[in-house]
Symmetry: C2
Subunit: 279 residues, 2 copies
């Protein structure tokens, strides 16, 4: 099986042009076939504010009314996507920018919730792995914004972490996939204020326990849920790391079971750092 | 040689969702391989106004400072492009949205002018016909916004009519190309206020004379210049017609010479309408 690397970049890593440039250079240097999925950074919120479109977040998810959807499409699929593609092209990486509607790559369904109206938000229903394969085999490098479509002509706002996970799962039927979530931290941290407190590896059951014990920073939970979903559904390797250190340490999600507590996680982190570090 | 149809849509045809929908349905029904190139309509100007970005036009061309470029990229390559793609997908047309940076499809060079600083405006230098062919042969239908890149990481605003012409010329080395400019009028009109005064066919030399005699409405000149450029550089057929009547009358640009004057053009228009109508 051929290898495929799927990287997701988001947050501060996109807002800072110098850091973004370094990341895109490192991404270009990856020799295996690859896909990049990007989030939105602060630009969409900034634009919505300038246009006096009120922004509402419920349970960490943006409520996407039709005006907010337009902003998301403009910023994610337009401004950010095309600037990333142009920068990658300058590095001789033959990037091709997409949203989920392009080539029918990622189809979703408008989220229906009993009490909350999320608006134009889509939950992914189908990833066309064969279409991705066609593009990759023609030598192009897909760069995706997290906008999808419902097949009835409507665009939908989608969570970029989930999109990365779902694409990685679908591509696992064709490739040996490594999924790498890149952000502004060095990995999953025991102490969110200590960049060196990286947890080198986490097993799902330990993760459930860590959630209960509130060892895991709340903002990391959706990302980790997506990461574990990928690992449990055919993706060979999943890693969470700093966008500035793709080849350096990070947090690897592993199959080997290890019951974590605050105490032994700290110990593990200290004692086994070299052995447990991701490849 | 396989046939390829290249359609360009712009102006009012994009601003009206009902008319756009009808056009996209007709576009879907075209059986030959095809490419769609779209302009921007009024949305970019509206967004620039809302963001208090002053807009300047010199010689009918938008002066594109960096903020205006961002607006163009957001509206053309984001909002319009992705909504067109989603609508085509709903009609089962496997559309794939691009700007010129994607797959390095269309490369341009920042326009340098002795007296006018056009800003981030690009003149097309290279169209990668082989990359287009790869995409088309995989069953995808390219849908292009008129944003290009310079290969050094910079996006550039480009005239959509010119983009259509340059792509058509490049694709003529591989396909038998028909280029169709679709807009809100029924074709090139003798009298801009009379929708029925369609000129059925125009030869380049007649066109030069008609420009001198100011028979041609000034706003049509850049479009016709691009159209003739295509015809003189390998494109088999070039037609200018109403976006709502793709298969109906329009103005065909022909090789057969015919010296036009106001008088005999009117006569020709009346006498030979059926024989001269495009196929």
């Amino acid at each position: 099986m051929k290898k495929l690397k799927i990287l997701k970049i988001g947050g501060n890593a996109i807002d800072n042009p110098i850091l973004l440039n370094k990341f895109l250079k490192d991404f270009t240097d990856i020799k295996d076939p690859k896909i990049l999925i990007h989030g939105g950074g602060k630009l969409a919120t900034d634009l919505a504010n300038k246009l006096n479109i009120p922004q509402t977040l419920i349970e960490g998810r943006r409520i996407t009314d039709s005006k907010t959807l337009d902003v998301a499409v403009m910023v994610y699929s337009g401004l950010i996507n095309k600037n990333i593609v142009a920068k990658l092209q300058a590095f001789d990486c033959n990037a091709m920018g997409f949203c989920g509607a392009d080539g029918n790559l990622v189809k979703s369904k408008k989220r229906i919730h009993e009490t909350i109206d999320f608006g134009q938000v889509g939950d992914i229903k189908e990833v066309k792995e064969i279409q991705f394969k066609k593009i990759i085999e023609q030598g192009f490098v897909p760069v995706l914004s997290a906008i999808t479509h419902d097949g009835n002509g409507n665009l939908l706002n989608t969570n970029a972490d989930t999109m990365a996970s779902k694409i990685a799962i679908a591509m696992s039927s064709i490739y040996e996939v490594e999924l790498i979530y890149c952000f502004e931290k060095n990995g999953v941290l025991l102490d969110v204020n200590d960049d060196n407190s990286i947890i080198n590896s986490i097993h799902k059951k330990d993760y459930e326990q860590m959630k209960e014990e509130k060892i895991i920073f709340e903002g990391m939970i959706p990302k980790l849920d997506n990461a574990f979903d990928a690992l449990e559904n055919g993706v060979k390797n999943v890693k969470i790391c700093n966008a500035q250190n793709l080849n350096d340490y990070g947090t690897k999600l592993v199959e080997s079971r290890f019951i974590a507590t605050k105490h032994n996680l700290r110990q593990k982190n200290g004692l086994h750092q070299k052995n447990d570090s991701p490849q």
